[in-house]
Amino acid sequence: MSRSQKITIWGLVWFSIITLSLPTLVVLGASLTAGNMVAFPPQGLSLQWYEKIALARDLQQAFLRSLIVAAICTAVAIPVGTLAGLALSRFRLRFTTAIQVYLLLPFTIPLIGSGIGLMLVFGQWHVLGSLWPVGIACAVINLPFIIWSVSSSAVLLDPDLELAAQSCGAGRVQTFFHVTLPAVMPGVITGSLLMFILAMNEFLVSLLLVDARIVTLPVLIYNSIRSIITPDLAAVSVVFIVIALAVIWLLDRLVGLEIFLKSK
């Protein structure tokens, strides 16, 4: 690589790193302020806003609700996404392409559209007002992530592995649990963590599906912003960022981050 190429590439890398991390750094700074206003750079350093959010009951409850939504979403997405991901990559189904396009649709339909659709459906069923529909909605709109993640593991799976299990005397169900599932486990873990964090952060669809009694954390933050922006919101945002980092750390420990470089 020539000198000028090196400079260009490193320039781009640093530009990306800075622009991507700037908002995070600003929020982090603002959350540490000793003053009463969201400001960057912070006016003095203190952890007072973290203390405040740790004691705020509404924030705690909203946080708990978000955790529940994320857990429901993940619990629904694991079996559905794993089976769909395996089916799409392993079998030559009649409508594979059509199904793949259909699974892409949640991305092409604006979230506001699918959110209103889900709101109408759940409203008809009279289930709005509980948390589980929010979890299921998050699973539905984010399903492609876990399907892709499982598929990318499944295409690496040697089909002979399943035949070998059969010749060892394993029936279909045993083959699935003893051989297929362990082989795609990295994809399942990656997909589940993604689903968890996406559901945790999901705002727009939650906004449409929750009412005042069951606001999730992103919705609560939004509601607060509409009245007055205080540094405690910055502190909550930092908590979100820390959770995301924790998930990524967990992912790296469990399956390694290389899977993102390999997946298609």
């Binding site: 040697d158 002979d160 592995l161 035949l163 070998a164 299990a165 059969q166 010749s167 060892c168 005397g169 394993a170 029936g171 045993q174 083959t175 003893h178 051989v179 362990p182 082989a183 486990m185």
Partner: protein, 366 residues
């Protein structure tokens, strides 16, 4: 084949496999019987249908016509996991998330052996493949040869009626491959398990097998013992595949084959009417070579030629010699490194052979 009263271990009767892709059938009218304890190699180029035939025996594919009997019973209705068939796969297909011992124990676990018996058997079979003490290792910690041995142990540990080998040695380097060939043979003889091996390596087929089937374009070309196949290939394709390198085109004559107006001594493999177009085939090690004019005692046919190239192969020389009189080129092995000087490129030489070594086939195939 074995002539014993008990049913043959494996029988194929008129087996077809048509994948319905519009291309030629993968396997056409395959039929053979294999006696208990025998080691059969199905030999053929890629696309010859040998792997498809093996996979039908394993139960992974169902013949479109005909039937396969294992132990005298029709196998078609039996799911692969209920067949008593162990298999070593081309890419081994060891379970990467299990240890060596867990891999070997897997067939026993699936067959619900009791845990004490499993432990004993796993140990015994790891000893058999000379991997005693490796049980706790992970698959990726093993060398290629060791992985082969794990795959063999896993295929044999439940004492199947039949062992199938789907080109498991193809990916190994030559030295290891030859070592593993002898290892397969040793284990097979030790256990007496009926074995079907698939390969495209004719040396491997000759080394390991009791019987060889040569396949081409979905059809069985010949089924014979290795020595028989080596000496009397059934047609030019088999001859070529089993290592015959020189072919002469001509017509059937009384002495053998008339090539370019010259009568060459040879032996027809079947009755061929005089004048019929035919093909003479001879191995590089059966042609003798000497400096031009030197006598070649014992040869029935001697012709003059010119060396066009020489390849030094260590224990022998491979000479490419054109024979202008026959309008042909032949390959000759010469086992006399001392004679190196006389066989320079461009040298004039005499070549000859005995009538029994030039095999004459009808010229319709190959």
């Amino acid at each position: 084949m074995s002539g014993v009263q008990q049913p043959a271990a494996v029988v194929a009767e008129g087996v077809d496999m048509d994948f319905g892709t519009g291309a030629a059938m993968a396997v056409k009218d395959a039929g053979f019987a294999l006696g208990r304890g025998r080691f059969l190699t199905i030999l053929g180029p890629s696309g010859s249908g040998k792997t498809t035939l093996l996979r039908m025996i394993a139960g992974f594919q169902t013949p479109t016509r005909g039937q396969i009997l294992i132990g005298g019973k029709p196998a078609d209705a039996v799911a692969p996991h209920r067949r008593s068939v162990g298999m070593v796969f081309q890419k081994l297909a060891l379970f990467p998330h299990m240890t060596v011992a867990q891999n070997v124990a897997f067939p026993l676990k699936m067959r619900r052996f009791n845990p004490a018996e499993i432990a004993g058997r796993v140990e015994r079979y790891l000893e058999l493949v000379r991997l005693g003490g490796f049980g706790a290792r992970r698959i990726h910690e093993l060398s290629g040869g060791q992985q082969q041995r794990v795959a063999i142990a896993r295929a044999l540990v439940f004492e199947p009626e039949l062992l199938l080998l789907d080109e498991p040695l193809a990916a190994l380097d030559r030295k290891l491959r030859e070592e593993m060939q002898l290892e397969f043979r040793r284990i097979q003889k030790e256990l007496g398990v009926t074995t079907i091996n698939v390969t495209h390596d004719q040396r491997e087929a000759l080394v390991v097998s009791d019987e060889i089937i040569v396949m081409d374009q979905g059809q069985i070309q010949q089924h014979a013992a290795p020595a028989e196949m080596y000496r009397r290939p059934a047609n030019p394709f088999v001859a070529h595949f089993i290592g015959v390198s020189s072919f002469l085109k001509g017509r059937r004559s009384a002495a053998g084959i008339e090539v370019n107006g010259i009568d060459c001594a040879g032996q027809a493999v079947a009755d061929l009417a005089p004048g019929v177009a035919c093909l003479g085939a001879i191995r590089a090690e059966q042609i003798r070579i000497a400096p031009a004019g030197a006598p070649l005692p014992g040869c029935d046919t001697v012709v003059q030629g010119q060396v066009t190239d020489i390849v030094f192969e260590g224990e022998r020389l491979l000479c490419f010699v054109t024979l202008p009189a026959l309008a042909a080129e032949v390959q000759i092995y010469h086992h006399d490194p001392a004679g190196l000087d006389q066989l320079a490129k461009g040298a004039s030489v005499s070549v000859g052979w005995t009538a029994g070594d030039l095999l004459i086939f009808a010229a319709d195939k190959g």
